[in-house]
């Protein structure tokens, strides 16, 4: 163990004395500070906007004066997506999904106004976030620290004398691993402190939001991912014939993980399970609506049913139109629910394939987990959509129910006021717990743990079986 420690200290000191490492580390810390500060600033700004908007919307809803309950349903309500505190660390899919949903009678829509629509095209090249620093840039630094660990010693002819001193291969591996990780501590510890301070001082919009457990889980994901890269770097360095080869192999792995795997995995998922284009989706809804009876036919049918005694005798004939309205509303809701459920199920299947492909690329698995814990992944977005949809149903039931219960007179001229609007409670979205996030991405968690174990074994085996001479 003392040998291992000696090797570690020697390697770490050498790395630390290398000006290139110090400048790279300095740059990385600067980027982390910028990413965290920018992320927290943007997050709190958006969270504040959404909070204010939701409050203003509630006032508008209550103050809209007297009107017919069905007119109120048409008047509709905005629901704004609450912004998660940890989206400052990993905004995930937030810029790519709508920021609010408009809930109204007869129509159901996807969340509107994805921030990416208002950004310049260069935004598509990626944005610096603490998550991208941890999952893309940090591994590259690890590659630069590990690629020469064994290959370099072998090439310089220092590996043989080192082994001749009676150092066990296990101590050598431990020493090299520690030697690569010690300089990283100089980056990771300040980064974690900076991140924690920023996130902590930025009071979350929802005080009950489960931040601490999720933050710790994210940190664990980043550390596990970094360890995987240390293991990979050491394993490749022990097997590679030269430092150059080790560097090229590791750079290729890094590039594949960080840049090729995400789009390729998604392309595969869509190839397996092709989704409709926007217009095909809209047309499928329209086609089904077109096949329904016209309004007049519907009223006529209801009148017949009324005359057949299907409804209570107190209903005046004009109530038939109200009933027709309620029935068509129910049909439309069912149609939209069915279509959107099918679309979301397809999204979920694609995300599932994407996650399965992540088995081959640890960075992909780590990215899925990071987004899940930040509360910015596809599953959380779906959770919000479901809450908004349930709220819409509740709102319409309250309003239309009032209309139906009014009874025997013509009900289109029936107006109600604030007392009824107050019966529709404000929208409150409960953020799922960290455990829920983990269970929704259990596969990725297993994959990440599996990679950690595999690369540890691979590194140990590579060092045990490595050639000492060139």
């Amino acid at each position: 163990m003392r040998d291992a420690f000696t090797i570690a200290v020697k390697d770490a000191t050498e790395t630390w004395r290398d000006g290139r490492f110090r400048s790279a580390a300095g740059l990385l810390i600067l980027l982390i500070i910028a990413a965290v500060a920018g992320g927290v600033h943007n997050q709190s700004e958006i969270a504040r906007q959404h909070r204010d908007a939701q409050r203003a919307e509630r006032d508008v809803w209550l103050e809209k004066g007297d009107m017919n309950p069905h007119a109120a349903a048409h008047y509709g309500a905005f629901v704004f997506k609450p912004v998660q505190p940890l989206s400052a660390i990993d905004p995930g899919l937030d810029p790519f999904v709508g920021v609010f949903v408009f809930l109204e009678a007869h129509k159901q829509q996807l969340a509107r106004h994805r921030p990416i629509e208002d950004a310049t095209p260069t935004r598509r090249l990626g944005q610096l976030t603490p998550a991208s620093v941890a999952l893309v840039l940090l591994p590259l630094l690890i590659v630069s620290l590990t690629f020469s660990s064994f290959a370099g010693e072998r090439e310089h002819g220092t590996l043989r004398p080192l082994m001749a001193m009676g150092i066990s291969r296990r101590s050598l591996l431990t020493g090299k691993a520690l030697g690569a990780m010690l300089p990283l501590v100089a980056i990771i510890v300040p980064a974690v402190v900076i991140g924690a301070v920023f996130v902590w001082t930025n009071a979350p919009a929802d005080p009950e939001a489960p931040v601490a457990a999720r933050a710790v889980a994210m940190l664990a994901v980043y550390l596990a991912h970094a360890l995987i890269w240390v293991g990979l770097g050491l394993a490749v360095s022990a097997r590679a014939r030269t430092q150059g080869t080790a560097l090229i192999v590791l750079l290729a792995l890094w590039f594949l993980n960080a840049f090729v795997a995400p789009p390729l995995a998604m392309a595969t998922a869509k190839w397996i399970d092709p989704s409709p284009s926007a217009i095909e989706f809209a047309a499928s809804i329209q086609d089904e609506k077109d096949s329904w009876p016209t309004w007049d036919a519907r009223v006529e049918d209801l009148t017949t049913r009324f005359l057949d005694g299907e409804f209570a005798s107190t209903m005046a004939p004009s109530n038939v139109e109200v009933t027709a309205l309620l029935e068509s509303e129910a049909d439309e809701t069912a149609l939209y629910n069915r279509r959107f459920d099918a679309l979301f199920a397809q999204y979920a299947r694609q995300a599932h394939t994407f996650e399965r492909i992540g088995t081959l690329a640890p960075t992909l698995a780590a990215r899925s987990l990071s987004m899940a814990f930040a509360g910015t992944d596809e599953a959380h977005d779906r959770q919000f959509s479901a809450a908004a949809s349930a709220y819409r149903t509740q709102m319409l039931t309250t309003l239309n129910g009032e209309l139906a219960a009014y009874g025997q007179f013509n009900t289109f001229d029936y107006t109600r006021g604030r007392d009824l609007w107050e019966k529709v409670p404000p929208f409150d979205y409960e953020v799922p717990s960290a455990a829920w996030a983990l269970s929704s991405r259990a596969w990725s968690a297993i994959v990440l743990a599996g990679w950690l174990v595999t690369v540890s074994i691979a590194a140990a085996w590579s060092v045990v079986s490595m050639k000492v001479g060139p």
Binding site: V99, T129, I248, L264, S277, F354
Partner: protein
């Protein structure tokens, strides 16, 4: 002499295992990206054909009711953007913006944009298309074949031997550069353009766009070759060159653009859609409540739609149109202010984003492919013009509560997309291509200058 050097270098380089691997990876990536792109393009063209034939969102055919308001507003018309000329090469912004609008005659609806239902994970992950391979992978592979132009030979002492022949170092380096440029540029241009040509129907603008695409790719590559030349001329060892080049790639392709995006997002945030929505809501509140009340009063006076008669329906249509107009007027001022601010911010940010060759080239490639924001803006402009036409045709008939005759229905305007032509595209890409060209020339010139002081 240079021809001999080039031929010799070609033999040496192409028999090198790493170089063979690089070319193999490059060609495979280009092929995969092209095939994915062509498959998507073919699918899009088929869909576009279906809907441009039906002319509406739905299977088409005469509507069940020819009531003017039903045809004009409920059924509406479709403005569809045809697939981009070189969409197979760059998906660009087409996974962000919708390629159709539902057109109605109501002033309030304006352009009812369809939801773009691309999986958010796809948009976030980016697309594996030819543009991605060119922008990200190509520079890296240029560095992979050029990090050791002369360093190893100098360290082994064989460069001296070469130079004892009647050749100058500059010629040797030039020969090596030419071979490396050709080795990668040929597949970069040939694979996608030929595959795209075979798969997609040739559009009139294909040749010009293909030429512009090739030119952009060539000057972009020239910039990266130039950077490799300068670094090689610095006289470091081959591994040191590799590390420096990898760092430059990281800085210009990954860190640079993403940092610029972070700064833009923080310092010049786009105006908030959320704020705009709330403002629009309160601005239109009074108008819509008043309008709804008038409509409610009307309905109270006319309890069932069966007994209002033609005159009653005219009144109803007028009330509805008046309410819509009032709301639309209020909405317009809010939206105009928002759009102005958005346009200002976007101009500013596109100026800021000219800090890395990748950002410059991305703009050019998307524009040439026809998947840039410009084409979608042009489409929106055309659709808005069509909406005015549609409204002018139907509004009098809606206000008259008329039922259309089959002839009137057949004469209704139909949207045909007029592309803005390649002239506008040429105008936009000229400056960025010129910038890249000047940059490449400077880099090459400085690289050869630096090689004059190369320590053997």
């Amino acid at each position: 002499m240079i021809r001999l050097l080039v031929r010799h270098e070609w033999h040496v380089l192409t028999s090198h295992a790493v170089v063979q691997l690089v070319v193999f990876v490059f060609v495979s990536a280009l092929l995969a990206a092209t095939l994915l792109g062509v498959a998507r393009d073919v699918r899009e063209r088929a869909t576009a054909l279906v809907f441009s034939t039906s002319g509406e969102i739905g299977r088409g055919g005469r509507p069940p009711s020819l009531r003017a308001d039903a045809v004009a507003n409920e059924r509406g018309s479709l403005a569809l953007l045809p697939p981009a000329p070189l969409g197979a090469l760059a998906i660009g912004q087409s996974d962000v913006y919708s390629n159709y609008f539902k057109i109605t005659a109501r002033s309030l609806d304006g352009l009812v944009t369809g939801d773009q239902i691309e999986h958010p994970l796809q948009v976030a992950s980016g697309q594996f298309d030819v543009a991605f391979v060119i922008l990200f992978l190509y520079p890296l592979l240029i560095f992979a074949v050029s990090f050791d132009l002369t360093a190893s030979e100098r360290d082994r002492g064989t460069l001296r031997m070469v130079l004892s022949q009647p050749v100058r170092l500059r010629e040797v380096v030039a020969g090596r550069m030419i071979v490396r440029v050709v080795l990668l540029l040929v597949p970069a241009l040939v694979v996608p353009l030929v595959a795209g040509l075979i798969a997609a129907r040739v559009e009139p603008s294909y040749v010009e766009r293909a030429l512009a695409w090739s030119l952009a790719v060539a000057v972009y590559a020239a910039v990266w070759h130039g950077i490799a030349l300068i670094v090689n001329a610095g006289g470091r060892s081959a591994p040191a060159n590799a590390l420096v080049l990898a760092g430059i790639w990281l800085l210009l392709v990954v860190v640079g653009p993403s940092t610029v995006n972070l700064l833009i997002g923080t310092w010049y945030p786009m105006p908030s859609r959320v704020d705009a929505a709330v403002q629009a809501r309160s601005a239109t509140q009074e108008a819509s409540v008043q309008g709804s009340r008038e409509l409610g009063q009307f309905l109270q006076d006319h309890p069932t739609s069966g007994n209002v008669g033609q005159e009653g329906m005219r009144q109803f249509a007028l009330l509805q149109a008046q309410r819509d107009q009032r709301v639309a007027d209020r909405l317009q001022s809010v939206e105009a202010a928002f759009n102005d601010q958005l346009a200002r911010q976007q101009r500013l940010t596109s100026r800021l984003s000219v800090l890395s060759p990748t950002m410059i080239a991305q703009g050019v490639l998307l524009d040439v492919a026809g998947t840039s924001t410009h084409r979608f803006e042009h489409f929106r402009f055309e659709a808005a013009a069509f909406q005015r036409e549609w409204r002018a045709y139907f509004e009098p008939r809606v206000l008259d509560a008329a039922t259309l005759t089959p002839e009137e229905y057949a004469r209704a305007p139909v949207f045909t997309y007029q592309d803005e032509g390649t002239g506008a595209m040429r105008g936009r890409i000229l400056a960025p291509i010129a910038t890249l060209t000047v940059l490449a020339l400077l880099l090459w010139w400085a690289g050869f200058r630096r090689y004059e002081g190369y320590q053997l």
